[in-house]
Amino acid sequence: METVFGIAVDGVAYGMILFIISVGLSVTLGLMRVVNLAHGAFAMVGGYIASSVMQGAGLPYELALVAAVLLTVLLALPLERLLYRRIYGSANELAQVLLTIGLCFVIVAGMNYLFGPTLKRIPLPDYLSGVVMLGPKAISAHRIFVIGAGLTALVGLWWLLERTDFGIRLRAAVDNPGMAAALGIRTERLYAATFALGTGLAAFGGVLGSELLPLEPYYALRYIVLFLAVVAVGGAGSIFGSAAAAVALGVIDTAGKYLIPNFGEFFFYTALILILFRWPHGFFKRGTA
């Protein structure tokens, strides 16, 4: 029983971290149909910004998190204008892959040049660095904070996309860009805003997840598979799907590593294949896609 509880706690905690890092990709991929392989790069940029404003400017953790999100969005918007805007649309998938991989390479090389190849850290404030006991199970305070942040992001995104004017227009623009434009929706601005949302979430996840996925220049390419897995299982564009997928994959990974550590990798990918057989469009298929 204690084992099951332990696996559940660790699995959910890991899943929420995966969710926070991947949900931005689900937004860009599902709502904008952009295969943004540079998602990890934006997450990494966010992490590096947080790390340097904390150590360089002495900002506290919370402010560094905000600064990281804002600055990453600010840096990414010109890229949307100059690069991404040219390749929107599902007919361009392969061009998107090539362009975003190229962008990834440039960012990796840039970070390597600016910060060197060594690991960078984002120091945690005292109240997040301790260990908390959940019954018999020890878990770090930081993970609890991440779970909270993940739930907040989940609710916030749901509200933004389902309940606000912005969300309604965005969904309209995605489903039928021509019609939306005819109705006077300014799709260009809408896309830029959505892109900003996606990169902002990436940066948010990059900072919060850095305890688990440490910052180094290769981060941008190292975790792509993990992000893609969450989005594929969740169903691209579905916020709840991403959350469900992230938690499911987190629990599966944890259970596999705990029960049969020597075959953890088999366990995870076999489970992934089985899930995709059962839910070929992910847990939550967007009805409109």
Partner: protein, 347 residues
């Protein structure tokens, strides 16, 4: 270097003359001899770079296999290395324990690659889009983990070494300079290229294209789209397996990197760079990517990634159909009114 510049020219003879049917005829008959001539020219001009050039040729065959599934069937995959690596390991294991004839080893690799593609293809090809992409990734990860666990056979992370193929046809020994390797690889690539062209132009190949463009219609006409896809996937597996075996034979070692996600992704980058749906695109993309990578990495081993990233982005922005479309664009510019010449080209 010249290999890149001159290879681009392969498209040109088709373009400079009259485009369309004549151009295609010229390309048909001149293409392979031109490739062979360029290959031999490379052999003559860069006798000191044969190691790298051999790798380029074997990789071109691997990328060609990806073109068969992606360019001709529309199957987006990030798991092509599963076939490449299986072929490489099968050939390597056969070389260590059973046979040493390089041609037999290639056959072993091809069969192994084809079999794994057939089995996994039958399992996963019902899916589409991102789901299919993820399934192919899962397959390559599992195959890699199998190779890692089967240390007694594969050497695990240390790599499978001790592959010592006997002379080609009993005559030509694999030498330090890599001359035999290079010419052997060139011959294999050319033969396989011809075979691939045969396949994509056969009724079967055309049907595959039909599935790519309009699966419902194929179904309505009584064909099974999935059967075509699995068939082509398996054939591409044979090509990838031969490419893996060729790499194993020419380098004498197989590592876990040959069954990695990264290696799959690299193939995709090279193919898109060259242009999908054209067999020449696969070859041109591979030569361009690897040669440029090599030159950049040699001139700046520390920051080459920046420049190759910029190069990839530049190709997307300025040559959306890939490098292979350059020739057609030029011909389009010359013959038609300048506006919207590229639109007609397939991406």
């Amino acid at each position: 270097m010249t290999a890149v510049a001159t290879n681009k020219d392969t498209g040109k003879p088709a373009g400079k003359g009259a485009p369309g049917r004549l151009g295609r005829a010229v390309r048909d008959h001149a293409g392979v001899p031109v490739m062979a001539a360029l290959g031999l020219l490379g052999f003559w001009l860069f006798p000191e770079d044969l190691g790298l050039m051999t790798r380029i040729l074997a990789t071109a065959l691997y990328v060609l296999s990806l073109d068969l599934v992606l360019g001709y069937c529309g199957i987006a995959t990030l798991g092509q290395a599963a076939m490449f690596g299986t072929g490489a390991y099968a050939a390597g294991i056969a070389a260590v324990h059973l046979v040493s004839d390089p041609l037999v080893l290639l056959a072993v690799g091809g069969v192994a690659g084809g079999l794994i593609a057939l089995v996994t293809g039958a399992l996963i090809l019902h899916a589409h889009g991102l789901t299919l992409l993820m399934l192919t990734i899962a397959v390559v990860q599992i195959v890699q983990e199998v190779a890692n666990k089967a240390r007694d056979w594969t050497g695990g992370s240390d790599g499978l070494s001790g592959i010592d193929p006997s002379p080609v046809l009993g005559l030509f020994r694999f030498d330090l300079y890599g001359r035999t390797s290079y010419l052997f690889a060139l011959a294999v690539l050319l033969v396989m290229f011809l075979v691939a062209r045969r396949i994509v132009r056969s009724p079967f190949g055309l049907a595959c294209r039909g599935v790519k463009e309009d699966p419902l219609r194929v179904q309505a006409l009584g064909g099974s789209p999935r059967r075509y896809l699995v068939g082509m996937y398996a054939i591409a597996g044979v090509f990838a397996g031969v490419a893996g075996a060729l790499t194993a034979v020419s380098t004498g070692i197989v590592g876990l990197d040959s069954v990695s996600f990264t290696w799959s992704a690299e193939a995709l980058v090279m193919l898109v760079l060259g242009g999908t749906g054209r067999l020449y695109g696969a070859v041109i993309g591979t030569v361009a990517f690897m040669a440029i990578h090599h030159i950049l990495a040699a001139s700046d081993p520390f920051h080459w990634m920046l420049f190759i990233g910029l190069f990839l982005m530049g190709v997307v922005l300025f040559l959306p159909g890939g490098i292979a479309s350059l020739g057609e664009r030029l011909s389009g510019l010359l013959s038609r009114s300048p506006s919207r010449t590229a639109e007609g080209d397939r991406p």
